[in-house]
Point group: C2
Chain length 212, copies 2
């Protein structure tokens, strides 16, 4: 996600505190009070402009979705989009860094994690920053329920190769893999962001589903 | 490998018993007597026309190579090729089915296994026949030395996806992966058969290195 600074981004987030949670640590272990139901919580880490999570939430009203995006400027774009499309009761957004997930979720609080087109951090010296590195896997393992899945999609071959090795070294079962999702049977039902729609023209979209 | 029946194939093999081992079970546990040295033994299962193993053996005179090919008609083609290119002291061929590998190798007798462009057996009902299925992995595990590697290449996406899941379910460490070998740094040093030269034009060549 290319980042353009938006000096008004934080204001946009604050003005939309109906669905943007400004102090997420207040809800650690209590997220179901936010949604006022007992439905499972699925999160997307690095939600970007929110296309994916918004579509998913529309299709699955019985699941609570929390989208995390590190950069307020990017999240503000998602917020504006939701305001034009209409709020959904089962979606909340947070401007938050995945490294601190355990500050906002207790053990086993999350039922599913989505990682879509994460920053590939292509330089070797930055590999610890990749969202599928061993920096993050223990964090996901803590907040994710037993048998909870991680669904990971990317168009970046290097990131996908790295991630498969990383998951394997962490001894994670590989439940599903596609090396060309848009030419797979599983294409049906695939929810796409704008980014995916654009980049699937240029090469394969890779997908893996793993658990701990 | 498309199979054309060659009624003279067995005769061709017998006439070349200098490097085609007609009764391989006689050498179970004694392969080093065939090569008359203490060098490690690497095998290729499904060697086809032998391009790959012949080039590998030329480059690595201190490794003993045994190529297995199920179909005598295919192996006869490899034999004729070796006769025109020149014999190598460190290569032997066998017409043999991988399912019976333990009839010809004792535990830990083999240092490395190559699987190149194996038959994908695309129908689900045939998945047990795939050379990376759980039919074969316990056999490889037995004959392969501890820390011995399996190097697997294919142009068949379905077979590669299946194989990654199969290796993972068998809890095999994934040491290396490329989802487009010919556009990887590791392209240098990649030994190609005629088949690989032809099919790398049509799509990516996938490679994985695993061990038990």
């Amino acid at each position: 996600m290319r980042l353009r600074n938006n000096p008004k981004a934080l204001d946009t987030l604050k003005e939309n505190d109906k669905f943007v949670i400004m102090e997420p640590s207040l809800y650690k272990g209590k997220w179901l009070t936010v949604f006022d139901n007992d439905n499972p919580i699925h999160i997307e880490i690095g939600m970007g402009k929110g296309d994916f999570i918004y579509q998913l939430a529309t299709q699955n009203p019985d699941i609570n979705y929390i989208g995390l995006e590190k950069y307020p400027s990017v999240l503000a774009t998602a917020v504006n989009k939701v305001n034009s499309l209409g709020c959904l009761p089962n979606v909340r957004f947070i401007s938050f860094d995945a490294i601190s997930l355990q500050d906002i979720f207790i053990t086993n609080e999350v039922s599913q994690i989505y990682l879509n087109f994460s920053d590939p951090w292509p330089k070797n010296k930055h590999e610890k920053r990749r969202l599928t590195s061993h920096t993050f896997l223990p964090i996901y393992q803590d907040i994710l329920k037993e048998e909870g899945h991680i669904e990971f999609k990317t168009d970046n071959r290097g990131l996908f190769e790295f991630s498969l090795v990383s998951f394997n070294a962490y001894k994670m079962p590989l439940l599903y893999i596609s090396l060309d999702l848009h030419n797979s049977e599983e294409k049906e039902g695939n929810i796409m962001s704008e980014y995916e729609r654009k980049f699937c023209q240029k090469g394969p979209i890779y997908k893996a589903v793993v658990r701990f």
